[in-house]
């Protein structure tokens, strides 16, 4: 009698365990599919090489005029997308000739503080030079480097770093 009861309990527990395991596998499988989506989005949707191409952090100076451009690690070269953004900014600035701007240059956290201050200044100046070639007078533009002091994303991963390597155009008046 006693034995039987114990077996019954055991069987019940086993069945439960099976159910739990099945469910876990389902959940695990779902997780895998989801994370696969997430990682593929990371590599193709939001970064090209290590330059950020997403729009999560981007704000707009006016409709259709993004406020920032992004850079590769240790680089201050403007990408095709960055040049397009800056041309839009230049057009907007030509239409609004009373507006002055500050170009804020930033670096990611993977560099020494002092070098990054210089790098941020170099990035902001790359943007400034491009705006000037599109007819924006240098006395409407000032440059401010924050180095790695003002990240937008506090993550310690390549995607976060790519969002932080940027030059942001800010209205000064």
């Amino acid at each position: 009698m006693k034995k039987l009861v114990i077996r019954n309990i055991d069987q019940g527990a086993l069945m439960k365990l099976n159910k739990i395991l099945k469910n876990t596998f389902l959940v695990l499988f779902a997780c895998l599919v989801l994370s696969a989506c997430a990682t593929s989005k990371k590599s193709t949707g939001q970064m090209q090489g290590d330059v950020y191409t997403g729009t999560d952090t981007v704000e707009y100076l006016a409709s259709g005029v993004p406020d920032r451009v992004f850079f590769a690690t240790n680089e201050s070269v403007l990408t095709t997308a960055s040049r397009e953004t800056l041309r839009k900014q230049a057009a907007w600035l030509r239409k609004n000739s009373d507006i002055t701007i500050v170009l804020e240059g930033h670096a990611d956290e993977r560099g020494t503080r002092e070098y990054n201050l210089a790098l941020g200044e170099r990035r902001a100046n790359a943007a400034k030079d491009y705006l000037m070639t599109y007819g924006i007078s240098s006395n409407r533009i000032s440059v401010l480097s924050y180095g790695k002091e003002r990240p937008v994303d506090s993550g310690s991963n390549p995607l976060a770093w790519s969002k932080n390597r940027r030059s942001v155009t800010v209205k000064a008046n």
Binding site: N74, S76, E109, R110, G111, T112, R113, E114, Y115, L117, A118, L119, E121, R122, A124, N125, A126, D129, V143, L144, S145, E149, R150, P151, V152, D153, S154, G155, S156, N157, A160
Partner: protein, 446 residues
């Protein structure tokens, strides 16, 4: 501070004990010397009066705690447990019973006596060689009571120098940047503290971003970068008076400042039109000189202790590397040739080494190399660390380390760490808040 400096009253010439005990400073903390710090004895009357003025029950034992902590932090000494001491402090100070101290395996013994003399603090101490059964040195100081921690530091400096043959670094201060708040909106303040973390004081309120404070090696002046009014400029601050001023009149960002070894010049970077070069400004006649002239980023300059050379950081080869030049900017030579990027070179006060930060395969290292770039030695590896600063005797490096955040961007912290030149004795330096950009002062007294 200098005018408060301790008067030496008695100066008993160290009795010759011919180095029967000797600390092997080349071996780091592998075999720290067992030392007994007997609580400094104090008479009841002095004890009561100091308790009133300093709010410390027994100032004698408080001073001995300062000494003990210093010796322990150095990694070269092992201060023994006071509970094991057999002899009373006052009697030990007169004549130690060496057998008792030998029994607990002490090789050196510090004893002392504290007294109130005309409301001044008079402290005498003796250092004993337990094995030889001899006195090694004896000194006495008189100072204002508030200086009691400094007395502990000066005693440690004397003991350290007597036992290692090198100058100490305990009567010194650290200036650094205190940090608070989320990583994306960090609030930063200048802060200063004693080398052991005591007497922490904030020097700015946190209204503007401040970075990279550095001590003048000859005075209580500090140079640093401030974003006051959103104009990043190098400033000069007198930490005694609180008076500050902008250094020079540059039409753009100045940064990465340091003093020349004689304290008369500031060397720094000036960024204009996407190019950073190195400049100096003479603090007396305000004359500005351009030292480098190159379309690359030239920054993080640091003088050799004789003032004849400058090491700095440049990406003229395509990536950050370390270069050395004469102080007039001539004879530029690259000295770093290992794998990876090199930054923040700092010349050792002894002159023979340059400490640096290295980035290689996603890891950051603090290391040292000879001034010609040979003999590179990495002392510590981490997710992120940089900006080493030398102790004034060129024995210890202090730097800061930042943690990796998790996937949600949480868990960020920045802390000060120190490490011995040998790569041993890595230690977290306690600060009341998060901290970065440390700079070590010279010895306050000699």
């Amino acid at each position: 501070m200098r005018n408060l400096i301790i008067l030496f009253l008695i100066f008993i010439i160290p009795t010759k004990a011919f180095g029967l005990i000797e600390v092997d400073i080349t071996r780091g903390n592998l075999n720290p010397l067992p030392i007994a710090v007997s609580p400094l004895s104090i008479d009841d009357e002095s004890k009561k009066s100091f308790e009133k003025t300093l709010k410390k029950k027994d100032i004698g034992s408080e001073i001995s705690k300062v000494i003990e902590k210093n010796l322990k932090i150095s990694g070269l000494f092992n201060p023994l447990d006071k509970n094991a001491f057999l002899q009373a402090p006052d009697i030990a100070h007169l004549k130690p019973r060496f057998e008792d101290w030998n029994l607990i395996k002490a090789q050196a013994l510090i004893t002392g006596k504290v007294k109130n003399v005309d409301d001044k603090l008079r402290v005498e101490f003796r250092l004993w060689d337990v094995l030889a059964g001899k006195e090694m040195m004896a000194l006495a100081f008189t100072t204002v009571p508030n200086n009691w921690r400094r007395v502990g530091h000066i005693i440690t400096d004397k003991v350290y120098e007597r036992l290692t043959g090198e100058k100490g670094y305990f009567d010194t201060r650290i200036i650094y940047v205190a940090e608070e708040g989320p990583k994306t909106k960090r609030i930063k303040k200048l802060a200063i503290m004693d080398q052991d973390g005591a007497n922490n004081k904030f020097l700015t309120l946190g209204n503007e971003l401040v970075l990279t404070p550095r001590f003048n090696p000859t005075s209580q002046m500090v140079t640093y970068l401030s974003y006051f009014r959103n104009l990043p400029r190098v400033y000069l601050l007198d930490i005694e008076t609180g008076i500050q001023e902008v250094v020079g009149d540059f039409p753009g960002m100045t940064f990465a400042p340091r003093f020349s070894p004689d304290g008369k010049k500031i060397i720094m970077s000036f960024a204009k039109d996407g190019n950073s070069d190195i400049y100096t400004m003479d603090l007396e006649n305000r004359i500005v000189e351009k030292i480098t002239n190159h379309p690359s980023i030239d920054t993080s300059p640091s003088y050799s202790p004789d003032g004849k050379f400058i090491c700095f950081n440049s990406d003229r080869s395509g990536y950050q590397q370390i270069y050395v030049m004469k102080s007039d900017g001539s004879n530029v030579k690259r000295i770093s040739f290992g794998n990876g990027l090199y930054g923040t070179p700092v010349w050792s006060p002894r002159g023979d080494l340059i400490a640096f930060t290295k980035l290689h395969k996603g890891k950051f290292y603090i290391g040292v190399m000879r001034t010609d770039g040979s003999g590179e030695r990495l002392l510590t590896e981490n997710f992120y660390q940089e900006a080493p600063s030398w102790s004034p005797n060129g024995r210890v490096l202090i730097f800061y380390r930042e943690t990796k955040t998790n996937d949600k961007g949480e868990g960020f912290s920045a802390k000060l760490w120190s490490i011995d030149l040998t790569g041993y004795n890595e230690r977290l330096v306690d600060t009341p808040t998060d901290a970065s950009d440390p700079s070590w002062s010279s010895l306050l007294s000699n």
